[in-house]
Amino acid sequence: MSEQIINRNNIKISGSGKQPMLFAHGYGCDQHMWRYITPAFEKEFKLVLFDHVGSGKSDQTAYDFEKYKTVKGYADDLIEICDTLNLKEVIFVGHSVSSIIGVLAAVERPDLFDKLILIGPSPCYINKTDYVGGFKQDDIDELIATLESNYLGWSSYITPVIIGNPEKEVYAEELKNSFCSMNPDIAKQFARATFLGDNREDLFKVTSSTLIIQCHPDVIAPVEVGMFVHKAIPQSEYVLLNSPGHCPHLTAPEQVIASIEAYLKNKSFEN
Amino acid sequence: MKEEILKTAQILLVEDNEGDILLTLEAFEEGKFKTKVSVARNGREALDFLYKRAAFIDAQKPDLILLDINIPIFNGHEILEEIKKENTLKKIPVIILSTSSNEKDIERAYNNHCNSYIKKPLEMEEFINAVLKIEEFWLQLTTLAK
């Protein structure tokens, strides 16, 4: 069982600490996204990295179009990973859509999670009455149309050709463009699950202490959305980074590390 | 030879294909046992016979039942279910003799405790042979409940 899940999600464990820090990558890429962040925490924590099913080097055959129709399917996987590895008091670090996956898991199993660190979270990408999601219904319709017409931007899918020792972490030429590649059908389904969901209600049910890390400007998850998440989650802190884009762990890793460290220290003082 | 098979064995054939009825009758005639074969041509006749109703008020309880699945009114599965549910009937061996090779039919028949499932052979000689083997197995080799 445990081996099956470890293979399914391509789980990698490292670090010399005890308390687990679980990193969940966002839409489109894989666990390599965390490469600039993890070194800062490997001494004090047990680091658990994984790929969502359908991404990276996860078991593609485990991809179930029904299960992963909504992000709930990924939240179930997250809980399964914690249970299988017997992780407790988890510090969860999730990027983008994985923030919400973490929220769903923490609402269902608050016993598993100590803290949630959410980078660029958005519970709902579409504007609603009294809510700014960043995208108009037109944008979403356009997105769906693009997905349906199998627009080639989404399917510039190059099967990764990995030469040499697959155990060895290499970013050689042969891995070019493969780090973010995804089977187009899975990419479409993942996009639907990510961008069409509305999980605003779930935020209010979070009981774990939470840190929200927000970029500015972020066209995918704008500042208003980050503020909304902050207001909705009862025990939450909010950090606005001086960095644009949606992937601060790649563009401004030192700021992300500093925010997380400050947050974790603060918390341990409280304890 | 055992005493009980010296008496005439009562056989109920539930079948609606006239050709198959005649061939089965011929086969039993050819066989070495004394048999009396009664024919029910649809599900209702079969139940009437077993419960000694309507036209079959004088029917004798059969020692062996040959049952086709695709028959009018009540199909073979329903008849089998009824027989195996009914205390006075469930000891009677029921041999399904059907053209259906559908897995679901076979599965369902065994789930409902049919005593064996035989696919009707397409060739005439094999068909007669199958009936003779049924007769030999169930009337000679097997000891039936009284």
């Binding site: 490469r35 931007g153 070019k176 884009g245 | 050709g19 397409l122 068909f127 007669i128």
Partner: protein
């Protein structure tokens, strides 16, 4: 010689290269763009440089793709190649491009910049769309061929199986008559001969149905506009007597006046469905309803009965050749397969809802155009 050198200077090579070039900051703000790309997009330089970010030129799908794929890849790998996206130009200009990009680090302040080169692939995109269309068509053809192959296998099966059943009776009974010769009394002989003749008739019927099914594909008649009421009237004339005799009734209802169909074939569908409703009736007298109404570009028909019902696991099988539910009940499992074929000729689909003991509704659509 001198003019050539001026034209080939670096600035001109950049501005007027047959390639689009632009440079962005890490937040996507465009700080440099070449004339070729400006021209392609229909913008003036001052509308773009330090005014728009690369993301502003993208539709939502590509925007997400940029933030979640292109940027992360550039930051991890420092370069990307052959990414296919579409740019929004001024007004309705849409430009499919293939982009390559490279990360450049300013040695004075370590700031990152990203240089993009963009290749116009409008022609290639058209070609790709055609390829995609062709591929889809090929897939449909393969699917059709698969179905034809299955049909053929069913044909083979029926020859091997369904025709052998009556043949077994014929050969079996005739052999018995021959072997017994004079030992057989005359009445019994007559009875056997009758069964043999009936079995031979069954074979004829089966062969006729097979031929009918095979012919259904090649339509001879013309599409015609006919009234629904006329169609229904024909059916009522044909069935009413029989249904009344059984103590039942048949009703028709339509909110549509005209349909365009192959009239003879279409009548055959209703005829098959209604006669099935009668054939597979329950203990109670048959009550049959036939309706017709509009449904988004299609006309929807339904035939509802209060008959025996069909088990859920047979819903699809009933439309397949020779999968009759009740082969001995004067049916050979071809009627519904023919209905399906005819409905598909009309650009529609056929399906059913049913509950054991309660009844069945067959639905089918035909395309309006």
């Amino acid at each position: 010689m001198k003019t050539k050198l001026i034209i080939e200077d670096a600035e001109d090579l950049y501005q007027n290269a047959p390639f689009g070039y632009l440079t962005v900051q890490s937040d996507g703000l465009i700080i440099n763009i070449n004339s070729t790309l400006l021209h392609w997009l229909g913008y003036e330089r001052q509308e773009i440089e330090f005014q728009k970010s690369f993301q502003d030129l993208l539709i939502m799908g590509d925007k997400i793709y940029y933030e979640t794929h292109i940027m992360p890849m550039l930051l991890v790998q420092n370069e990307i190649a052959e990414i296919n996206i579409q740019l929004k130009g001024k007004g309705l200009i849409r430009l499919p491009v293939l982009i390559n990009a490279k990360r450049i680090v300013d040695s004075t302040n370590q700031e990152s910049f990203f240089r993009f080169s963009l290749l116009d692939i409008t022609q290639r995109r058209k070609y790709e769309l055609e390829l995609m269309k062709a591929r889809k068509e090929a897939e449909t053809t393969v699917q059709q061929l698969k179905e034809i192959k299955q049909d053929l296998e069913q044909f083979a099966y029926v020859v091997a199986h369904d025709l052998k059943t009556p043949l077994r009776s014929i050969k079996g009974l005739l052999s018995i008559i021959k072997n017994k010769g004079d030992k057989m009394d005359n009445t019994k002989k007559q009875e056997y001969f009758n069964v043999v003749i009936n079995a031979a008739d069954d074979m004829y019927k089966l062969i006729d149905s097979l031929l009918e099914y095979a012919r259904t594909g090649s339509v001879q008649e013309e599409m015609q506009e006919v009234t629904v009421s006329g169609i229904f009237k024909t059916q009522l004339n044909f069935f009413e007597q029989e249904i009344k005799k059984l103590g039942g009734q048949i009703e028709t209802h339509s909110t549509i006046k005209y349909i365009t169909v192959y009239p003879v074939l279409f009548q055959q569908v209703l005829m098959n469905l209604i006669s099935n409703a009668i054939k597979y009736r329950s203990e109670t007298p048959p009550i049959i309803q036939v309706t017709c109404k509009d449904q988004k570009g299609y006309t929807l028909f339904s035939v509802t009965d209060n008959g025996m019902g069909i088990p859920t696991d047979r819903f699809e099988a009933v439309f397949k050749l020779f999968r009759s539910l009740n082969p001995n009940n004067d049916s050979n499992g071809i009627g519904l397969a023919i209905c399906k074929k005819i409905i598909e000729l009309h650009g529609g689909t056929i399906w059913l809802e049913s509950e054991i003991g309660k009844g069945t509704t067959f639905y089918f659509t035909i395309r309006k155009d």
